[in-house]
């Protein structure tokens, strides 16, 4: 643990408690990012309230995944401010510190640890000290085993718990990754295209799960499947060319002329 803490001063991230007195857990302000002249994010502003479920929609290249990269520390913006609560500056932390601070991410393409079992995948993702010496002498407590069992139950993979994760179906991998997110007990969940490649029934269950998570966690969902967005969304942000074009409920968004022009219009046409 000590070795883990050495070096960077801001690594006491297990103890980071975001200041959410204003009800906002994630501030993204005036963020700009360009790749070789292409403006991926253009003065983007986004505020996520504590406990809300927000959907991000937008055409390909609108900046949705780039925004997630910026929030989780994978990519640094050229300018702007990203903070967790009011005080924790996420631009000062690296990916692992941001993860430990309580921002979890599910990738577009499901990435699980294929050689490890489903059980071990969840075990590694459990909230707790992620330092070397703890890992070396770690023994699962009864409480942690209960927690893993509970998560396995939630994601419906109890029977598969000792399968190598690589043997799961695509949909099951998506679920496992959601389970890994839950194990980390994050305050904010970033979920990139959770229902891609899922059957109708699986999609329904995912919608149920994500809605049930909101409240206790803040959930940001990026999704192309409009029916899915309609089924879960309370508030939707539309991204277009790296900036937020509109925000509101699904029906507000659908009647917004700008949105119809650039996004829904295309889809209907």
């Amino acid at each position: 643990m000590n070795t883990d803490k050495a070096g960077t001063p801001l690594t006491a991230s297990e103890n980071i408690v975001p200041d959410t007195r204003h009800g906002v857990i994630l501030y993204v302000e005036d963020v700009n990012l360009s790749f070789d002249g292409f403006k991926a994010l253009n003065n983007l502003n986004l505020y996520i309230n504590d406990g809300e479920l927000r959907c991000l929609i937008g055409a390909n290249g609108a900046g949705k995944t780039t925004l997630m990269d910026v929030i989780t520390g994978k990519t640094r913006p050229d300018s702007g401010k990203v903070s967790f609560g009011q005080q924790v500056d996420l631009l000062q932390l690296d990916e692992s510190e941001i993860a430990r601070a309580g921002i979890g991410r599910k990738f577009q393409k499901p990435t699980v640890f294929e050689e490890l079992t489903v059980f071990e995948n969840i075990e590694l993702s459990l909230k707790g000290d992620k330092g070397i010496w703890t890992a070396l002498f770690h023994k699962l407590s009864g409480e942690q085993k209960d927690r893993i069992a509970e998560i396995l139950h939630t994601i419906g993979l109890v029977a598969e718990c000792h399968y190598p994760a690589g043997r799961l179906s695509h949909g099951q991998k998506q679920w496992l990754e959601i389970g890994m997110l839950l194990a980390a007990e994050p305050r904010v969940l970033l979920v990139d295209e959770p229902v891609a490649g899922m059957t109708g029934q699986e999609t329904e269950r995912t919608a149920e799960l994500l809605t049930s998570l909101a409240g206790k966690h803040s959930v940001i969902v990026v999704e192309h499947d409009m029916a899915f967005v309609r089924s879960i969304a309370r508030k939707v942000s539309v991204l277009h060319q790296g900036t937020v074009l509109a925000e509101g409920t699904m029906s507000e968004i659908q009647s917004n002329p700008d949105v119809i022009k650039v996004y829904l219009g295309e889809e209907q046409g």
Partner: protein
């Protein structure tokens, strides 16, 4: 549900071929006892006699096995393909060699009680600062681990922090060992130049020429290998082992789960380098010489082939691979020395194509076949009854 989960977990690990800890250490210790008895009890000429030459040869193989274990730990489990592990092995060897040089005392060719022969030859009048303390056993033991460990720490910290991985990292490790070879070839380095360190007389006061010392060194190597195996087994089966495997398969995901892969990689790289250093230290008194040739990139590549043949991702596989390939080398180089490298290269290609999991990967398949063969008539009978 919880108990069910944990219990099936237990049975799982009992039956999985990943954990034959007792079996491997058992076989190792039994072999050691048999070789010892064969060497001591049976007279020369008896069919059961194990010659001193064989004892030394086996000791050498066990050093290689320990080295293969080190390579397997970083490559098989953490996915770091090091093509420079020979550097850590050789540094450990030099630490031991320096100690052995000082044990020669005034029995060298020049009879200088303070300076090793090569320094007298270079007209040096006093020991360089980095030889200070090299006559103490404690210094030697420290340097065997510290030398390789420190190099691995510095190299690893720089490389892994800047997220160098894959083939780039392999090339850098190769360059590292090559650079060390060139440096150690120079007389001014103070490690005996291209002759290296040799003409050792005794270790801890026992003559290196005597059969009993050779046997003791062999036994010590076997014990060191058993302990190292135990340590590696513990690491690989701890949560650390699972994190490291996860890093091998999906490093960026590990980061987003909250671990710092670079810390884990440096740690495992340093542990591995120390094991390699220990192997080198045990190797030198048994072969009687250490020179910069050991730094040669070719040696490091050979180590990787041992592990590939034996089976990466399997600790006992690494041991089997090292012993088998080294034995093949001993036989082959006696018959057709110039063809050995071709044979080695061919072996690597064949193993990669046909046995991606190495020999250790074959064992479970064979076991399963035996089981299904046994089961097959059973199920047929049942079917008939129904």
């Amino acid at each position: 549900m919880t108990t069910q989960v944990s219990e099936s977990n237990k049975t799982n690990s009992l039956f999985s071929s990943k954990n034959p800890l007792h079996l491997t250490i058992g076989i190792l210790l039994i072999t050691t006892v048999l070789v010892t008895l064969g060497n001591l009890l049976f007279p020369e000429g008896s069919a059961l006699h194990v010659s001193d030459y064989t004892v030394s040869l086996l000791g050498k193989y066990l050093c290689y096995a320990l080295l293969a274990l080190a390579v397997d730990l970083v490559w098989g489990y953490c996915g770091i393909l090091s093509l420079g592990h020979g550097a850590f092995f050789t540094l450990g060897g030099y630490a031991m060699g320096m100690y052995l040089m000082r044990q020669i005392g005034d029995r060298g060719v020049y009879g200088n009680p303070d300076l090793p022969d090569f320094m007298v030859f270079l007209n040096w009048t006093e020991l360089p600062w980095f030889w200070a303390g090299s006559d103490s056993v404690l210094w030697m033991v420290c340097m065997v681990f510290l030398g390789p460990g420190l190099l691995a720490f510095i190299f690893g910290s720089l490389a892994f922090r800047s997220r160098v991985s894959g083939v780039y990292l392999s090339i850098m490790t190769q360059a590292m060992t090559y650079a060390l070879m060139l440096a150690f070839f120079r007389n001014e380095m103070g490690f005996g130049g291209n002759n290296g360190l040799t003409d050792f007389k005794e270790i801890f006061g026992f003559s290196l020429q005597s059969p009993s010392t050779k046997l003791s060194l062999f036994i010590a190597t076997a014990i060191a290998l058993a302990i190292a195996y135990g340590i590696c087994h513990f690491i690989v089966n701890s949560k650390m082992g699972r994190v490291v495997t996860a890093i091998r398969d999906a490093e960026s995901r590990v980061r987003f789960v909250g671990y710092k892969p670079e810390h884990y990689k440096v740690w495992i790289f340093v542990v591995s380098a120390m094991l390699a250093g220990l192997a080198g230290a045990l190797y030198v008194p048994q072969v009687g010489i250490i020179n910069p040739g050991e730094f040669s990139p070719l040696n490091s590549i050979e180590m990787v082939i041992w592990v590939a043949v034996g089976g990466r991702n399997s600790l006992y596989g690494a041991i089997i691979g090292a012993v088998l390939v080294s034995y093949a080398k001993t036989r082959f180089t006696a018959i057709m020395p110039e063809a050995w490298l071709f044979a080695l290269g061919g072996l690597f290609v064949l193993v990669t194509l046909l046995l991606p999991k190495g020999i250790a990967g074959l064992l479970p398949t064979i076991k399963q076949r035996l089981i299904t063969k046994k089961d097959a008539p059973d199920t047929q009978q049942k079917g008939a009854k129904l």
